[in-house]
């Protein structure tokens, strides 16, 4: 049987065949044929964002929460440029995304046509791969390929730019292509794995270092089994949080710039670092030359370009980390490592993470801990970017992979609200909490109305200190307390703003019983903004000053 369809209908049919059930986007002239076809789809739910960047982060939220490739749509010109930040963010955090943009008709490309921009050229450095589609036939190859690329190897964003005339070109389709799927990763090198096992067995003070790749690969369980068998104290990157429950006996929590002192000091003493799905980011390593100075390095990553990029590995293994750990674990010896674990315990008690005022829900740590006390591990925790993000990373008891959605590599303020909406749409059975700040929330606040429209089950906890907190902190600590452009002279009434956008809002500052008000807000279904003022003088401590070695931390 032959189907006669236009390029737009083909695109939507291919998305349906990929298993896509929700897309986020905003229509515009150059993508109207696709929207016309999308409107006829009874399978795909379209979420109308209020800014294309919001659509991009909603798709990211879906992908981060579910692990499945998600889709966002935008028109040409400003629609496409507005998507770019969300795409760049997905690239740095290895999130599988397919972004589909409309483009002016082929004959008008290069004429500076209305809403024409070189979307292909602009997206080259921030995508894993990109396509400019030149015919409807090509869509049959390109769309499945885009999904295959986004999900295979190290995941990432793929952009497909489709000129309007291609969307309208009608062709006959005899046979539909198979949906694009993740390609099997290369088998780990057996020799390198046995060398790695021997190094772990011989090490006296090993540390396991888990990155976001462990979450992406679904390797969390296997990583915990390896740590338990070989007695490996375990650190996680910001992106790796949740891979091992933070209250696991072997967990040292997050490493790097805002780690607990004991975490960075343990790394300073280790003689073997086993890096798994991690990329030695500068926020994790501090001054690279002083990072784990005594350690040999085993580095396992699916991306060969990550091996030896920052630190030369003694053993480098290109492999899917789950497959590698599955083979590595039986080869390592059971080891209780009493001496090293005793040393770790001593460091923990000597240099603990100080979290004052945990019982006060109107303090930064207290608010985070009180929210956690209202929820179980089924909840998903998103953040924006800034002080609140680091405090949540330090204080929230993350225990589940994909529980934690945060903009790690790009550090994009404005990520939180739309990503939380996306997570809530992908997994409607969960409560999604978005911790945000007064700086971040304003960068995509328009999506509150999208949350209202979708009835997304998101609880936005706004920690308001009326400053750009991390800027304020750096100016205070490193720029002679010359505070400039980091304190807001005017701040909106966020409770009224939220209500104006059509979502419930509660102000903990005004609540007779803040704990009760918080619990009630979290337990009420649907979107809600929870506002709390916090002290602008509070710092994220401890802190490694930029450029310093991780052992040289300042503050609490």
């Amino acid at each position: 049987m032959t189907d006669t369809l236009n390029g737009a209908q083909i695109t939507i049919r291919l998305l349906e065949r990929q298993g896509i059930r929700t897309v986020a986007g905003i229509p515009g002239g150059a993508i109207l044929p696709i929207y016309d076809a999308l409107g006829q789809s009874s399978i795909i739910h379209h979420v109308l964002a209020r800014h294309e960047q919001g659509a991009g982060f909603m798709a990211q939220g879906m992908a981060r929460a579910s692990g499945q490739t998600a889709v966002c749509l935008a028109s040409s010109g400003p629609g496409a440029t507005n998507l770019l930040t969300a795409i760049a963010d997905a690239k740095l955090d290895s999130i599988p995304l397919v972004a589909i943009t409309g483009q002016v008709p082929k004959a008008m490309i290069g004429t500076d046509a209305f809403q024409e921009v070189d979307t292909y050229g602009l997206s080259i450095p921030i995508t894993k791969h990109n396509f400019l589609v030149s015919s409807a036939e090509e869509l049959l190859e390109v769309i499945p390929r885009a999904f295959e690329l986004a999900a295979s190897g190290r995941p990432g964003p793929v952009l497909v730019d489709i000129p309007k005339d291609v969307q309208m070109q009608v062709i006959d389709i005899g046979e539909w292509p198979a949906p694009g799927r993740r390609q099997p990763p290369p088998e780990p090198d057996g020799w390198a794995l046995s060398e790695a096992a021997a190094m772990i067995n011989a090490a006296k003070r090993p540390i396991l270092y888990l990155g976001g790749g462990v979450v992406h690969s679904g390797a969390s369980g296997q990583a915990v089994r390896l740590a338990e068998k070989a007695g490996l104290p375990t650190v996680m990157t910001l992106m790796g949080l949740g891979a091992m429950p933070v209250d696991h006996a072997l967990s040292l929590g997050m490493l790097g710039m805002h780690a607990a002192r004991y975490t960075n000091l343990a790394l300073d003493e280790c003689d073997l670092l086993i890096a798994v799905g991690a990329r030695f980011d500068d926020r994790a390593t501090g001054k690279v030359a002083a990072f784990c100075p005594q350690a040999k390095i085993i580095h396992i990553d699916i991306d060969p370009a990550e091996l030896d990029k920052i630190k030369t590995a003694h053993i480098g293994i290109t492999a899917d980390v789950d497959a590698a750990l599955l083979r590595l674990t039986p080869a390592v010896a059971e080891n209780r490592r009493t001496q090293w674990l005793q040393r770790i315990a001593d460091l923990k008690s000597e240099y603990p993470l100080v979290m004052p005022e945990q019982d006060n829900p109107l303090s930064h740590f207290g608010l985070i801990r009180t929210v956690a006390a209202c929820l179980d591990d089924e909840a998903t925790i998103a953040t924006d970017v800034g002080q609140h993000q680091m405090w949540v990373a330090q204080a929230y008891p993350l225990r589940r992979p994909r529980q934690w959605l945060t903009s790690g590599g790009l550090g994009t303020m404005g990520f939180g609200v739309p990503a939380a909406i996306g997570a809530a749409l992908a997994e409607p059975e969960r409560t999604v909490v978005c911790f945000t700040g007064d700086g971040s929330i304003l960068m995509n606040i328009q999506e509150l109305v999208t949350a209202a429209e979708e009835g997304a089950n998101v609880k936005i906890v706004l920690m308001n200190n009326a400053t750009l907190g991390l800027v304020h902190q750096q100016q205070t600590l490193f720029y002679g307390e010359r505070l400039f452009a980091s304190q807001f002279k005017s701040t909106p009434d966020f409770v009224k703003v939220a209500q104006g956008f059509g979502i419930a809002a509660v102000d903990l500052d005004q609540a007779a019983n803040p704990c009760a008000a918080l619990m009630e807000a979290i337990n009420r279904p649907g979107p809600c903004l929870i506002h709390a003022s916090i002290d602008a003088e509070q710092k994220v401590y401890p802190m490694v000053p930029p450029g310093a070695a991780n052992r040289d931390m300042i503050g609490a």
């Binding site: 050229g121 080259i124 450095p125 894993k128 791969h129 060969p304 370009a305």
Partner: protein, 103 residues
């Protein structure tokens, strides 16, 4: 610069990369973009289609640099790159081109 002749300079500090790619618009941008974003200058480029024209071969003349191994890995990751090989600066491909490069 004047202390050593051009040939010696090449032998000391340059490398030639041979990159087989799919031949369609944008591929060259992908390849050279990896260099430009790192402020890594490309000293010479030669490119022509292979056989039936579905593929091309790009020859790059670049300075030796400690980043070169990472550059080659990044180029190798590009979807449209089929293979990358490294040669010494004395490779014949960039020789005898002087006539086309007189000021």
């Amino acid at each position: 610069m004047n202390a050593i002749n051009r040939h010696e300079q090449n032998a000391l500090s340059r490398a030639v990369l041979e990159i087989d790619v799919n031949n369609h618009p944008g591929v060259m941008s992908h390849v050279v973009g990896l260099f430009s974003r790192r402020a890594y200058n490309v000293e010479g480029i030669l490119c022509l289609p292979l056989d039936d024209g579905s593929r091309s071969r790009i020859w790059l003349l670049v300075n030796e640099d400690q980043r070169l191994p990472q550059m080659m890995k990044q180029v190798g990751k590009l979807e449209d790159v089929i293979g990358i090989r490294r040669h010494n600066a004395d490779h014949a491909v960039f020789q005898n081109l002087e006539n086309f490069f007189r000021g």
